[in-house]
């Protein structure tokens, strides 16, 4: 394979369509006779459903049907769990309680759907929702995760003894023993709060049942079209081949669109079959704040044991994890947190205990970062406090603890989110840390610039945080690569695409394998009619698992091309080369055949072929890694804080990433920009505020602040490449990396900017208001 395209900054081929409004999104789907759905959702966080009267809604002109849990009959079933509890860990407790299509007996969070109205238009449907008379008997509400675990707390699920959803302990070495030998113990309570993903496009579903062909087609803003197809077929008692799920262009997903099944995702196709009509439902922004999953709420009691020279002897952490009203996503998030709490450091002793807690809030599933930012926040905060206590420079204390390059593969002896042993496949952490320090001018800033600025009365601080990211987990993805008679290449894969640039980066791999122009490689993603094996786009795995499956199938096609061309051109395979869309004898370039002509020869219309011959230049292949690849990086920033207004200005932001082989640096840069933006929101702006009754107090983009172009600085990016030995391309994921270190980085830099306050930031996110409170508290102490 020649590397003409891999590693090149190629502009995204999908962008012209996206930028000119020509790309298909779910809401663009219009079908004659289509009806529209609206949901009656609970205003209460916790209540018994006593009765519903839908007669006035049904009587409204233009309303076609109204369904409740009761009228769904036997078709009402709780959703299937998405991720099973780990079978390999002893003594794990896991109570599976999954979301329901419509509330039957008890409401468990605000926004839970109680009834669905189908009408000629969305306007009529929404008006009819108001006609429904529902009698809810309010119950005491469980909001705070610590209060939820108290013995007298109200129960989210009445059949359980407590609000404990799951309990998992993990241990490496012997923390209790090493603690006795430590020179310094840093112990703190650290709280991380909830945020939303806020994708630009909300969720949406269009379902069309065709009674004549007995086929169901569903357009869905999902990250996992194949899993949705298989689940729908099972639920609706159809063959998998009767169901086609299309995830067209999607305006961002960030994890919550991986949730399967949302109530709406099950209901809209069910109603379409029931009424034999196409149905559309598009989530509005207000619904999105309640009905789309969220993440991050955890309370940690964390401690770190160190020697006087700053060597980490061990980490111990006990934490509560907010699961919301149900726990369909199993233990993925607390496991990710546990796996990142040692960061990139060589830590021999580790104890972690996690309790997952049910609350009367929106369901929690991964949001870009997915448990990882919490783990990094804990270890980095403890290390910063230790550095201060020991009088060691923050960069120096980190260098002393990084896993050395000769220690890989580095086994952590705990399990990861895939229930496999956590092994760091490869890494070289120090050069990345040094590069970031160098790019931001760490030494110069600390020695010269900061003292000068402080003398001027300015509050400018620096932060530097290394991190790791578990990426590219299994089980597998697949792809089919076909050379068409035109000489163009068609590639089909099962993963959906939500803005990652798959159409370009995947095409680069195929173009290099087959020696064609990258613009001649056409990609189809997220359509189960095109490819129906795979799991989905999540866990920073597209460029690892799907990309290697595509690479493997392109390689098989390359072998077929060479075998056939060798016969046709009467030359040995090893003397042939693939370039510019033709196969030619390397030394005698005039002896050649175009790919298109060869494809036609591979698919003869008449005559005999040798027994065992497969038609066409096409191959399907799969890739499943042995275990996940560990990407890493270091972010650094310089921030100025105005202690009068609490407004901040990020003066410099440096991100150095090592995600193994970079397929397209432009796309990797874009992923980092997006991730850092989300991280900035998680650090200083975005927080979902619930009152004691489980009411979300900032359910609009007026009150829920997301960073805008004014808050996101120019990001300077550096790349290092440590290839993963676990896959042929040597790639690692980078989708979530940008978001992971940012809250820890903010905390460090803010403390550094305000030395006279001697701040200890033990929470994320901060906000201007919260910083104001913290500074006032400190002023009272001083």
């Amino acid at each position: 394979m020649t590397k003409k395209y891999i590693g090149k900054r190629i502009k995204r081929s999908e962008d012209p369509r996206l930028l000119t409004g020509e790309a298909l999104f779910v809401d663009d789907v219009e079908i004659p006779g289509m009806l529209h759905a609206a949901f009656l959702r609970s205003d209460y966080a916790h209540a018994y459903l006593k009765s519903i009267d839908v007669s006035a809604a049904q009587a409204r002109e233009g309303v076609v049907a109204v369904f409740t849990a009761e009228t769904m009959g036997d078709d009402w079933q709780p959703g299937p769990p998405l991720v099973s509890p780990p079978p390999t860990v002893e003594d794990v407790i896991f109570h599976s309680r999954t979301q329901v299509p419509l509330v039957k007996d008890k409401v468990r969070h605000v926004g839970e759907p109680i009834a669905i109205v189908i009408a000629e238009s969305r306007y009529i449907a929404e008006d009819a929702v108001d006609d429904i008379v529902v009698d809810l008997e309010p119950l005491d509400v469980v909001v705070d995760i610590e209060k939820a675990m108290q013995p007298d707390a109200p129960l989210v699920h009445d059949d359980l003894d407590s609000n404990l959803a799951a309990h998992i302990e993990q241990e490496k070495g012997d923390y209790a023993a090493i603690r006795e030998e430590a020179d310094l113990i840093i112990k703190r309570r650290i709280v991380i709060d909830r945020g939303a993903a806020v994708a630009m496009e909300n969720r949406g579903i269009v379902a069309q049942w065709d009674a004549k062909s007995q086929r169901l087609t569903v357009w869905d803003t999902t990250q996992a079209p194949i899993a949705i197809r298989n689940g729908l077929a099972a639920r609706l008692d159809l063959s998998e081949h009767q169901v086609r799920v299309i995830a067209p262009f999607i305006g961002g997903a960030f994890g919550p669109k991986m949730m399967m099944f949302y109530p709406e995702e099950m209901l809209i196709p069910w109603v379409s079959i029931k009424l034999d009509r196409p149905i559309k439902w598009i989530e509005d922004r207000y619904e999105n704040f309640y009905a789309t999953t969220q993440e991050r709420g955890q309370v940690h009691e964390a401690e770190m044991a160190l020697t006087l020279d700053g060597r980490i002897l061990g980490v111990s952490d006990v934490f509560l994890h907010d699961s919301g009203a149900y726990d369909p996503y199993g233990l993925t998030l607390p496991l990710n947190t546990q796996c990142h709490m040692m960061g990139p450091y060589d830590i021999a002793n580790y104890y972690s205990e996690s309790k997952v807690v049910f609350t009367n809030k929106t369901i929690v599933t991964p949001v870009r970062g997915a448990g990882r930012p919490q783990g990094i926040f804990i270890v980095e905060r403890l290390l910063d406090l230790a550095a201060k206590e020991l009088g060691i420079d923050p960069v120096e204390i980190r260098k002393r603890n990084l896993i050395p390059p000769d220690a890989f593969p580095y086994e952590h002896k705990i399990i990861d989110q895939a229930f496999a042993p956590l092994i760091f496949d490869s890494g070289n952490y120090k050069p990345v840390l040094e590069k970031a320090a160098d790019m931001i001018g760490y030494d110069r800033f600390v020695k010269d610039e900061q003292p000068r600025l402080r003398a001027e009365g300015r509050h400018v601080g620096i932060g530097i945080v290394p991190f790791i990211e578990t990426t590219g987990v299994g089980p597998y993805e697949g792809a089919r690569v076909t050379v068409e008679a035109s000489g163009k290449i068609n590639v089909a894969t099962g993963v959906g695409t939500q803005g990652q640039g798959h159409f370009t980066s995947f095409a680069q791999i195929v173009a290099d394998q087959l020696g064609v122009d990258v613009r001649d490689v056409h990609l189809v993603t997220g359509d189960t009619a095109e490819f129906h094996w795979g799991t989905g786009t999540f866990a920073s795995r597209g460029s690892v698992v799907a990309a290697n499956a595509i690479n493997a199938s392109a390689k098989l096609v390359r072998e077929k091309i060479l075998a056939l061309a060798s016969k046709v051109l009467e030359a040995p395979e090893d003397e042939l080369e693939l370039a510019d869309g033709v196969i030619r004898v390397a030394d005698v370039p005039r002896i050649s055949i175009s790919l298109g002509e060869l494809a036609m020869l591979a698919n003869p219309l008449r005559g005999a072929v040798e027994p065992g011959t497969e038609p066409g230049l096409e191959a399907t292949a799969y890739f499943g890694p042995q275990y996940g690849a560990i990407a890493f990086g270091t972010h650094a920033m310089i921030v100025e804080v105005d202690p009068q207004t609490m407004m901040i200005e990020i003066k410099r932001y440096v991100a150095v990433e090592d995600c193994g082989t970079v397929i397209n640096p432009l796309i990797v840069d874009g992923q980092i920009h997006g991730g850092v933006s989300l991280g900035i929101g998680n650090s200083y702006y975005e927080k979902l505020v619930f009152d004691e009754n489980g009411q979300l107090l900032n359910a609009s983009l007026m009150d829920y602040l997301i960073p805008t172009a004014a808050e996101v600085p120019r990001i300077e990016i550096g790349h290092e490449e440590t290839r993963s030995p676990l896959n042929p391309l040597g790639s690692k994921g980078v989708g979530e990396a940008g978001a992971i270190p940012v809250p820890a980085l903010f905390a460090q830099a803010m403390e550094n900017a305000l030395p006279e306050y001697d701040l200890e930031i033990l929470e994320a996110p901060l906000s201007p208001n919260r910083l104001f409170e913290l500074l006032r508290e400190k002023e009272r102490e001083l």
């Binding site: 205003d43 108001d130 207000y286 979300l696 107090l697 609009s700 009150d703």
Partner: protein
């Protein structure tokens, strides 16, 4: 959420008590009220049409009056719900004879709000509710003047209840004068809706006394 305040009526305690226990007066003082009916000895139900700005819907409230000591105090338990969300609350109202033919009303309550009221409106809830209540009480005070005038034979004092829009304008002005520097008129509209609901419930409560 706590809601408390006081207001001085220009009339004797007995007259104020009589006024606020008359559902018809309250209904006219509160634009958009469709009905306010006594459904039990100490139980009232009111329906109110809220239709201002982008939020519209029918809001229904139910009040139970307890611990009544005429013409001084009562406790009210409120449940209200409608498209903009719901309100549950307990309120305590106290009328104090000032000895100079004026009456001091003190009220305080604990209110829980939910739905759009909470999630979209909470930011301005506090400031706007104060303005709304003040406007509502001003209207009631005018009604009181009209009643007293008739009673004392001192001629007619015209009492014309404000329309929904007049009421909203008065509240917006009050807020602008008090605290709000923002020009986000949509917020005012939303806030006005919310506080009309609050006022409705408080006034309905008083009527129940």
């Amino acid at each position: 959420m706590k809601l408390e305040g006081e207001y001085i009526f220009d009339g004797p305690q007995e007259d104020v008590w009589e006024l606020v226990r008359d559902p018809d007066v309250l209904a006219t003082a509160l634009p958009g009220t469709q009905s306010l009916d006594q459904v039990g000895e100490n139980e009232y139900e009111g329906v109110m049409n809220v239709r201002i700005g982008p939020v519209a819907g029918v809001f229904s409230g139910r009040i139970v009056v307890s611990d009544e000591v005429p013409p001084e105090t009562c406790t009210l338990t409120v449940e209200g719900k409608g498209k903009p969300g719901f309100i549950n609350g307990t309120g305590y109202v106290n009328l104090i004879d000032q000895g100079d033919s004026t009456t001091l009303m003190k009220y305080d309550g604990e209110i829980q709000i939910g739905g759009r009221l909470a999630s979209v409106g909470q930011r301005l809830f506090d400031t706007t509710s104060k303005s709304m209540i003040r406007q509502g009480l001003e209207t009631l005070n005018k009604a009181l003047q009209a009643r007293i005038a008739v009673k004392t034979g001192g001629g007619e004092v015209e009492y014309k209840p404000p329309s929904e829009s007049e009421f909203a304008v008065a509240v917006a002005k009050d807020m602008a004068g008090e605290a709000l520097s923002s020009s986000r008129t949509t917020w005012i509209a939303v806030a006005v809706v919310i506080v009309i609901v609050i006022v409705a419930l408080i006034l309905i409560n008083l009527g129940g006394g």
